[in-house]
């Protein structure tokens, strides 16, 4: 069979002329979107599409925002107790089980703020049915929000094994895209994805609610994220009508202020994501505690004046602003040598840190 050089193909079929392509064909292909069969395009076609997308965004003066669902915009539970909790939305049966979601506080205000500035997309590890159900719930909670066809679920990329790839959503590159996610470790694939992630505090409403139903849900993460995203958009499309070319640099402009002038020393071992975040948010990492302006540790060090709790560090990152270090110091010194962690008045993310570290270790050493 004659070689077919058309730009798109679905599985082994050329999508333009319908020719069956054998495995020997080696035209370079970029995976685009897997639905029932894998759709792929040539890199030239991907470039053309990316170019059209970019000029469209520039005329609208919009950026793209890729949203994670679980623990970022909401928390989902299959626990029956969730059905009776106030403010919980039922998704009905997904994959044969009833699902309930609790939308993060401030969701509507968040969408109202970013909708005029960003073209929204969803990227979730959930199934396609779940993604569709949640997208509907989000549209109802924040009227006027549209995700269009830009919803990617794990069914669309079975080959990525739990990692996320922007290229799957935007073939040909996503120069105008930022990501909102509670996890950095899923975005390590590809060269420049990690820098685009604006990290949020993992939203774990049910975990706390079932333990203590009287606990108030005072989460304000989305307002902080919206502020950072609006600032990035304003930097990218300044009011004089010009256009910047690096969206990451625009986000960094506000991010680097967070720890500007700080030299951090991590007294305890932290995972690589903490270190990456520290540098991304403007801090200098030092080897010697004597040089540090902040000694980051869960344990109370000898030199208390420069002590900053690890929670302080993460809250600064999540909120994209410098918090007061005193606020995050536990009142009572934890017992020496015990593994019990000091708990600040708000929940620290200690458990997530451990998870991230474990995931990375696996990645590095396997």
């Amino acid at each position: 069979m004659a070689a077919c050089t058309h730009p798109q193909r679905l599985g082994n079929l050329c999508a333009v002329c319908g020719a069956v392509l054998d495995g020997k064909d080696t035209t370079e292909q970029v995976a685009a979107r897997a639905s029932s069969a894998a759709l792929s395009v040539t890199s030239k076609e991907a470039e053309a599409i990316a170019g059209a997308r970019q000029s469209r965004l520039d005329t609208q003066r919009k950026l793209q925002l890729v949203l994670d669902l679980d623990h970022t915009l909401l928390e989902c539970s299959t626990d029956k107790r969730a059905s009776s909790v106030e403010g919980v939305v039922s998704l009905g049966n997904v994959a044969g089980r009833p699902h309930w979601v609790r939308l993060r506080p401030g969701l509507r205000q968040f969408f109202d703020a970013v909708r005029p500035l960003y073209e929204l997309a969803i990227y979730t590890h959930g199934s396609r049915a779940y993604a569709a159900g949640v997208a509907k719930a989000l549209t109802e909670a924040a009227p006027g929000t549209s995700f269009g066809g830009r919803v990617v679920s794990r069914d669309d990329c079975p080959d990525l094994r739990g990692e996320k790839s922007l290229a799957r959503l935007f073939p040909g590159g996503a120069a105008r895209a930022l990501i909102l996610d509670d996890r950095l470790d899923v975005w390590t694939r590809g060269v420049d994805q990690t820098a685009r992630v604006l990290v949020v505090q993992p939203y774990k409403f049910f975990e706390h609610h079932f333990r203590d139903p009287s606990r108030r849900d005072g989460d304000a993460q989305l307002s902080h994220s919206a502020r950072a995203l609006c600032a990035a958009h304003a930097a990218f499309y300044p009011s004089n009508g010009s256009v910047e070319d690096d969206v990451v640099a625009c986000l960094d402009r506000s991010r680097t202020k967070v720890f500007a002038g700080c030299s951090l020393f991590f007294a305890e071992e932290v995972d690589i994501y903490a270190a990456r975040c520290a540098e991304r948010y403007g801090a200098r990492l030092v080897e010697d505690p004597a040089e540090a302006t902040h000694v980051v540790s869960r344990q109370r060090p000898d030199d208390e004046a420069r002590w900053a709790h690890l929670d302080w560090f993460w809250y600064c990152v999540w909120r994209c602003r410098r918090e007061s270090a005193e606020r995050y110091r536990p009142q009572q010194p934890p017992q020496n040598g015990s593994r019990k962690r000091a708990r600040s008045p708000e929940e620290p993310a200690a458990d997530e840190d451990d998870e991230w570290a474990a995931d990375l270790e696996e990645e590095l050493f396997s």
Partner: protein, 183 residues
């Protein structure tokens, strides 16, 4: 060129000993309906509906020594859907993207690339309304539209049939629009 056709097929099934008894044949028939309808049988196409499983069509089974299960061959008649290249059919739009349009006819999914659209649609993807618009804005193809397409290629796997179509020809394209029923 046949899109739907009726044929006789054989289904081999293993019946566990717990179902042996007076209602065994009913059980077998139910099982055939449940297991076969909606399935893709490779080259034969998709089973749309099992029309009949007669009592006399159920062969005498053979007991398997290891498990105690009975292997039975069941003959049944079914309506199948088998798409062919160059066939013209009406499909519902499930999803649109900047690459093209994803459509379906019952269990069959058909992709229409933007390169298989008329010239005036090819560059008309509109992300705001999530639709393909023609240059003169007369034609809008979006989710839930019905479009008439011709199959360009069909590929049969054991578990699914992959198909691509085109709307770049006379009399092909938009048939009905969800906001504009019945024109």
């Amino acid at each position: 060129m046949v899109f739907f056709y009726k044929t006789d097929l054989i289904y081999e099934m293993l019946l566990s000993p717990q179902y042996f008894g007076p209602s065994m044949k009913t059980r077998i028939k139910d099982e055939v309906n449940k297991q076969v309808e909606g399935k893709c049988l490779g080259r034969e196409g998709y089973v749309i509906a099992v029309t009949s499983v007669k009592d006399e069509d159920v062969d005498t089974g053979v007991v398997e020594y290891d498990t105690g299960c009975v292997a039975v061959n069941v003959r049944y008649a079914a309506i199948l859907l088998r798409p062919f290249k160059n066939e013209v059919l009406d499909a519902i739009v499930d999803d649109v993207s900047e690459l093209g349009v994803f459509t379906s006819v019952g269990p069959l999914h058909i992709f229409v690339s933007r390169h298989a659209m008329p010239e005036d649609l090819q560059n008309g993807f509109d992300a705001d309304s999530d639709a393909w618009l023609s240059d003169d804005k007369e034609v809008e193809i979006k989710k839930a539209c019905v479009i008439r397409l011709r199959l360009l290629g069909v590929m049969c796997d054991t578990t699914q049939i992959t198909a691509v179509g085109t709307i770049k020809d006379d009399f092909l394209g938009l048939i009905s629009h969800p906001d504009n029923q019945g024109f």
